[in-house]
């Protein structure tokens, strides 16, 4: 259950405090003050003395009126909140779950309600109700009827997504009835959203009621903050400098709205946990790069004792003291399971990690072709932009979905060249784009295509072509072929090997597929819980794995043609 409650934060504290105090005032205040309607002949007395907030034109106590008005406004707010949320849940959730004609009819209804301008409609409806029957309930009903449509659409969208979840399918397979699926499987997962829609409806109702009452269309039998403002306006409080009559109700409306909105922010964090942990970006530049040993003139990238920590509530040490050396033209395989820190490591090498991730120690040094060493962790923003892609490029996980869907392949490749090679002419750029496409085995005629016109394999090839455009010396590939079917995957890897040989760049290839690395990589680093537990040539990892975890990983992939009896079906027949 704890994941359904908002996490404590200063924001939530202030919001709850404001709303709590105002509610308390609305509940208890009327019991403590005198008759708000008692007329005295001390009109427009300033605050002080017997009257805490002064008196109105007719000598009524403003503080007493405020207490009753707060109660009235809260009543309307909660009433409307409950009614509007129920209406939106019925139309949004049921429509989306049932689908078909019901959904279309319900959607049409809520869309029509949305198109009708809200406040004018409220004014018209409220105006038609005779003043004597314009009680709290009538006004609440009018506000609820005009205020449910927007949240019905939000709930519909969320239900449409929830009803396609596997657990709903699983409940169907188990034989659950539809109403139970809605009530037990779907509704609880809508709770945070319902709560936030409720709070929003309350805010809107209090504000709209204030507006209505200010126009003289408010409740006739009870007072609200809005009717207070209405009387203050009609009593020329502004013109007579009677601020104490006008400011308190206005301020209360503002504070109540503010408090409810703050609570809503905290509820939103349950719905979208990404809103949490908005840590400030603190790039600790680690100690100056240690002098790198010059024994290996072939090296292109040296990572020394790199540490990456996620600064969240309980800090997670994602990368622990990792050291790697990448030689020119080498394919380094980085193997490990989900959560072992391999992607974090790749991002940190390129300084693509974002808060709350932070590099706390270690160094990343790039040894440029011309002999200069670049301390990647010390680069300024401008230098970093120039460094990335030019010297070190990256192919992301699920890269085939990272092409921009609204521009052509040509435009996206061209963009990289215009940014990094401003001196190139348009003809040279076109020539280069065609060249890299040919290199990865895609027909250059495809330059004019959009992403959706290419198959998954071709999109992946285009992403690799983009990473090759500037002839980088290092390419980091994070699970570049996992989403593709094996035959296509093979084709791409074969080409990777071929143009690695032709162009001589080095590759860091990240995957969970150790057998694939054994075949593809020159050296392999096996990562577990942020540490590199084995780092050796592919040959030796294959023949003589040292670490027990490497052996576990290797044993997790049954060989296609190996002896069947090694595995589970022993004794099966």
């Amino acid at each position: 259950m704890t994941n359904l409650l908002p996490r404590w934060s200063a924001r939530l504290g202030v919001g709850l405090g404001l709303v709590g105090l105002i509610t308390l005032f609305g509940l208890l205040g009327p019991l403590l003050v005198g008759d708000p309607n008692a007329i005295r002949d001390i009109g427009l007395t300033p605050p002080g003395g017997g009257h805490l907030l002064g008196t109105t034109q007719t000598g009524q106590d403003v503080f007493a009126q405020l207490a009753y008005a707060t109660r009235g406004s809260l009543e309307i707010g909660v009433l409307v909140g409950v009614m509007a949320t129920l209406l939106s849940a019925v139309f949004g959730v049921i429509g989306a779950y049932v689908g078909g004609f019901t959904d279309e009819a319900f959607s049409l209804l809520s869309n029509v309600m949305l198109v009708i301008p809200g406040l004018p409609l409220v004014i018209v409806i409220a105006g038609f109700v005779p003043p004597e029957s314009r009680g709290t309930w009538t006004i609440a009903l009018v506000l609820a009827l005009t205020g449910w449509a927007a949240s019905a659409r939000v709930l519909r969208a969320q239900t449409l997504s929830l009803r396609n979840r596997d657990y709903v399918a699983a409940a169907k397979v188990a034989g659950e009835r539809p109403w139970r699926i809605v009530a037990v499987e779907i509704a609880p997962n809508l709770l945070p959203l319902l709560a936030s829609q409720f709070v929003f409806a309350v805010i809107l109702a209090i504000l709209n009621e204030a507006g209505l009452a200010f126009l003289g269309l408010g409740t006739s039998n009870s007072s609200t903050l809005g009717t207070m403002l209405y009387y203050a306006q009609n009593g020329f409080a502004l013109q007579r400098d009677a601020w104490w009559w006008l400011v308190p109700p206005g301020l209360l409306i503002a504070l109540l709205g503010c408090g409810l909105a703050l609570i809503n922010f905290s509820i939103d964090e349950i719905i979208d946990p990404k809103l949490r942990n908005r840590a400030r970006r603190r790039d600790t530049v680690a100690a100056p790069a240690p002098t790198v040993d010059d024994r290996d003139p072939d090296r292109v990238l040296t990572v020394r004792d790199l540490e990456v920590v996620y600064r969240v509530e309980r800090p997670v040490h994602a990368v622990k003291g990792v050291s790697l050396t990448l030689r020119r033209g080498e394919i380094l395989g980085l193997a490990g399971e989900s959560g072992c820190g391999k992607t974090t490591l790749a991002y940190a090498i390129n300084r693509l990690h974002r808060p709350p991730a932070e590099v706390t120690a270690g160094s990343v040094v790039f040894h440029d072709r011309d002999g200069t060493d670049i301390d990647v962790l010390a680069l300024g923003p401008g230098e970093l932009r120039a460094f990335r892609w030019d010297k070190l490029s990256m192919v992301f996980q699920g890269a085939m979905n990272s092409l921009n869907p609204v521009t052509t392949v040509r435009a996206q490749l061209d963009d990289v060249l215009t940014t990094h090679r401003p001196g190139m002419s348009a003809a040279e750029r076109r020539e280069r784009c065609q060249e890299v496409l040919r290199l990865v085995g895609v027909d250059p005629a495809r330059l004019g295509s959009y992403a959706h016109e290419l198959s998954g394999g071709m999109r992946q090839r285009v992403m690799i072509a983009a990473a090759l455009l500037l002839e980088p010396q290092v390419m980091i590939m994070d699970e570049p072929t996992t989403a593709l079917d094996v035959v296509v995957q093979r084709g791409i890897l074969r080409e990777l090997l071929r143009f690695r040989d032709e162009l001589g760049f080095a590759v860091v290839f990240i995957t969970h597929d150790l057998p694939l690395l054994l075949e593809l990589a020159d050296r392999i680093a096996v990562m577990k819980d942020g540490e590199i537990v084995e780092y050796d040539t592919a040959e030796r990892v294959h023949r003589d794995p040292r670490h027990p975890y490497t052996r576990t990983l290797l044993a997790s992939f049954p060989s296609l043609t190996g002896d069947r009896r090694d595995y589970a079906r022993e004794g099966a027949r």
Binding site: N189, V487, R494, H512, E519, S556, F557, L560, A568
Partner: protein, 317 residues
């Protein structure tokens, strides 16, 4: 108690509407097979080949466009529709999505038990189910899905499938979302349960190696059609259809460092063939394609119980 499922001439068409035009997409094309007690049938194919659609039709989440799925009980009688779900259950691919984050593990198992009137003492039965899938019941039952690892969740999903007393289990890529080091454990568990309870299992996967090691028979699906079927070892070690050969050649082979990548079978780049083409739909990628491949092709017997849908075997060799 055992049950058998016979699938005959199964077809699933989807209608794709774009603007005013409607197009028909045939996701599953004339598929026939039988699931028998105590045996595992592996359905192998790449994503989009129609394997999950077949699974969802057997689990009655989708309705076939034509063809039949018949469930026969131990007594040889057809099981009536309202009791179908007592017999047939499904394990979904993603254990992170198939358990409701709001409910405890106990809820997930108790619901099917109650629905199917399986036990008087629900709590004890939940504990028994969890133990059957090697999970410590006392520790796990009151937890919520996000407190469990992927492997534990998938074990819970398997227990849920067993709860109504299922005799037929459809496992749709049950390990592809799990970490590699725990995959074999989950497959071994499924395998043990199958042996002990005489389950009929349809194991859907894209991984040829586990298909071979954990099943008795294999069907290879390509664009909705079964292109090859036969005993597991036969199909993998002596693949006949060019597509199966291509798949088998694409499996990594560490002993052949780099060589299999450099050589390997080539994929032909013939003009693309539409999904509903009457001829062989693999001929656009097939290195052996000839003109005859545009003709409708039948299953040809290539060995005992081993069939390939390919013109190369028209005279049975």
């Amino acid at each position: 108690m055992t049950s058998t499922i016979e699938v005959r001439d199964l077809v699933k068409d989807y209608t794709i509407r774009s603007g005013l035009s409607r197009a028909r997409l045939r996701a599953v094309d004339d598929v026939t097979f039988t699931l028998t007690p105590g045996r595992t049938l592996a359905l192998v194919g790449e994503s989009g080949s129609g394997k999950s659609t077949i699974a969802r039709m057997i689990a009655r989440l989708e309705r076939p466009s034509s063809g039949s799925i018949t469930l026969t009980g131990a007594d040889g009688e057809r099981v009536p529709d309202r009791r179908y779900r007592n017999h047939v259950q499904m394990v979904f691919q993603d254990p992170f999505a198939s358990l409701n984050p709001f409910h405890t593990i106990e809820h997930h198992l108790a619901r099917p038990l109650r629905l199917h009137g399986r036990a008087s003492d629900i709590r004890a039965e939940v504990a028994r189910l969890l133990e059957r899938v090697n999970l410590p019941a006392a520790e796990i039952a009151h937890r919520r899905p996000h407190e469990l690892s992927g492997g534990q969740r998938q074990r819970v999903a398997i227990a849920r499938a067993l709860a109504p007393g299922a005799r037929v289990v459809v496992a749709d890529e049950p390990v592809s979302m799990l970490d590699v080091s725990i995959r074999l454990g989950v497959l071994t568990l499924l395998n043990r349960l199958q042996r002990e309870e005489g389950l009929a299992i349809l194991y859907i996967t894209h991984d040829l190696a586990t298909a071979r090691h954990f099943s008795d028979d294999i069907m290879v699906l390509y664009r909705g059609r079964v292109v090859e079927r036969g005993p597991a070892d036969e199909v993998i070690l002596r693949p006949k259809h060019p597509y199966t050969r291509l798949l088998a050649a694409a499996a990594p082979d560490p002993d052949a460092r780099g060589r299999s990548l450099e050589s390997g079978l080539d994929v032909a780049g013939n003009p693309p063939v539409r999904v509903d083409d009457p001829g062989c739909t693999f001929r656009d990628r097939c290195p052996m394609a000839t003109r005859v491949c545009a003709q409708p092709v039948a299953d040809h017997r290539v060995a005992d119980d081993h069939y390939a849908k390919c013109w190369m075997y028209v005279d049975g060799t």
